[in-house]
Symmetry: C2
Subunit: 359 residues, 2 copies
């Protein structure tokens, strides 16, 4: 088992990475602070892993909430269902919520934990590659508003993250590939060596080789941990983690949550952001090609749907939360392995990129 | 103008106390970080003070949300109305919310600010005595759940608090007296001299003498600031601020939010907590009488409604969030001016107090 520590002073916590961690009773139990535990999962994950997690728990008052599966359920209604269950059981401030599932479950449960009685403990047990390398790490929690993704939420850190590589064996192929998008992202924004490693090992990763997965998850988490430790509440550096996300969020919102997986939308967004970086003279055309090629080798989409034209894209990007006072700022690449802090982007270059991809 | 500083490191902020501060344009404008400002108030306050606040603001993009008035609107629906308005206007992370109203508005707006885009700035302009001495200070924000008061919320600090004593002139008598309950509380829990001052000056306070009010608000805020600075997230000392509140919340929940004002319920709760302190041998009978007498002189109720019997009280108190693992802990007085940290209370003493007041 590997352990990556997120260094946030009093709010520091470990990420455990390895095979068959779900059954390790000692791991989860040492992070509980009372006998009141509620496991929240979804209808897809419950039959696969819920019983194993419940068996590992030693808390006598253990309850479950099973939400429907899907990004469309990442909303205030799901948060309210968790509040209702906690209130029905009269769970106290010392209770712990366990999020067993992908990013939707992790973000929703984390936000419920942040708000119930102004904050109770929670533990992340991410069951998708995307959640293991990204959404379960760093304390961003929240839900979607009908008019914008992740608009309602809190910065709130878990007690620990348990990333079991073995659960990825049952992950469907599309979900798995969506996770690869975020792995590629870490290479692009701050780790050129890792980008090269992913280029060399893409087929091994796609074959879900245990060692390759553990390495990719650890390296991704170390990169994320470094950034989050430096800027917990996204006042500066942390913004680079949103590389490709402003385009990606526009795609997700514009097509209705659920058509594109988050990682798929980010994969497209990273290609668009790379293209834009080239138009500003930062990236070479061959670097953009190299990025697009790796995205395609992962079986991920590299261009947006035809239904979203430039005007609609601009409208959708304007409400993205990376903006200050209406000026559009984007994270771009100076080179593979080097992202710059958010930059105000000349509208003509942005339109050129959107037109290029709107063919 | 008096200024009391809340010392919380990076999250420190000032409380301005004085007459005619609403019109002081310089005061509010120096705490804005962008040109996007939304003032949230209620139907009672809007016709009285909204125009004056709007006139004082120099931000060009200033919008308003006017909620219905009353504790029953301190809920997620009101928070969602604020989210919808912010999303409709595409307000960014640098926007500021201004809470113009009593505790309900302050708590609701503060929680919306804590969650919108994971946290935007907000400013408190409390218009009731209770909000000026208590709810606007200290960063507790949140709303009620149908099954419990203040169960959903966040610790989130404002940029500043502007307490204008002049707005108290239009406050209805019942609301004003409810605020006196919290003033009395500060004397009881940690400031015996202030308790004596309130005993001597009750009539002057009830006549809403400007100097007496400013003194009482300042002294209350200093007491609260000391406690909050030492324990921002209520892991220890801060619990003493809840003196009388476990009983009080039970009264509010048991009668349906709205029948009793918060301060009225707390006034009753403080009498019950004083009685219980006496049963444990901590307070003398004459001290309990002195407390009940001062509460009565303020025109506040000193005993609960007949509709709530002991059993119902116990049931309601069990879900209060000051409990750990089901054991009821209460804040009690060792003497007038000295509260103790939460204590597990023998059930027979609690039942004796409930019976005493259930006559």
């Amino acid at each position: 088992m590997k352990t990556v520590n997120i260094d946030l002073g009093k709010r520091s916590y470990p990420i455990y990475i390895g095979s068959h961690l779900l059954d390790k009773s000692a791991l989860v139990n040492k992070h509980l602070h009372s006998n009141q535990v509620m496991v929240v999962t979804n209808e897809t994950i419950a039959p696969l892993y819920l019983a194993r997690v419940m068996d590992a728990l030693k808390a006598p008052v253990t309850e479950t909430v099973i939400l429907p599966d899907g990004e469309i359920y990442k909303n205030m209604q799901s948060v309210n269902r968790i509040f209702d269950a906690l209130m029905d059981l009269r769970f106290s401030r010392n209770a712990t919520l366990i999020a067993l599932g992908g990013g939707v479950i992790g973000d929703t449960v984390g936000f419920a934990a942040a708000c119930y009685q102004r904050g109770i403990s929670f533990i992340q047990i991410p069951t998708t590659l995307l959640a293991q390398v990204d959404s379960s790490v760093g304390g961003k929690t929240g839900v979607n508003h009908p008019k914008g993704k992740n608009m309602i939420g809190a910065f709130y850190q878990p007690q620990c993250v348990i990333a079991d590589t073995q659960v990825l064996a049952t992950l469907d192929d599309r979900q798995f590939r969506a996770g690869i998008a975020e792995v590629v992202k870490y290479g692009l924004i701050r780790d050129a060596d890792f980008f090269c490693w992913v280029e060399k090992n893409m087929e091994t990763l796609l074959a879900r080789d245990d060692d390759a997965l553990a390495f990719a998850i650890e390296r991704s988490c170390i990169n994320k941990a470094d950034v989050v430790a430096e800027d917990e509440r996204e006042s500066g550096l942390r913004a680079i983690l949103n590389f490709g996300h402003t385009f990606g969020h526009a795609i997700e919102t514009g097509t209705g949550y659920g058509e594109y997986l988050h990682g798929e939308a980010v994969a497209i967004g990273m290609c668009q952001a790379a293209d834009l970086s080239m138009r500003l003279g930062w990236l070479q055309p061959e670097e953009v090609e190299r990025i697009e090629k790796l995205i395609s080798r992962a079986g991920l989409p590299a261009s947006p749907p035809e239904s979203l034209d430039s005007d609609r894209f601009l409208e959708l990007m304007a409400v993205d939360k990376k903006n200050i006072d209406g000026k559009l700022r984007l994270i771009l690449l100076e080179a593979i392995g080097h992202a710059a802090l958010p930059q105000p982007v000349p509208i003509e270059h942005l339109q050129a990129t959107l037109s290029e991809y709107g063919r």
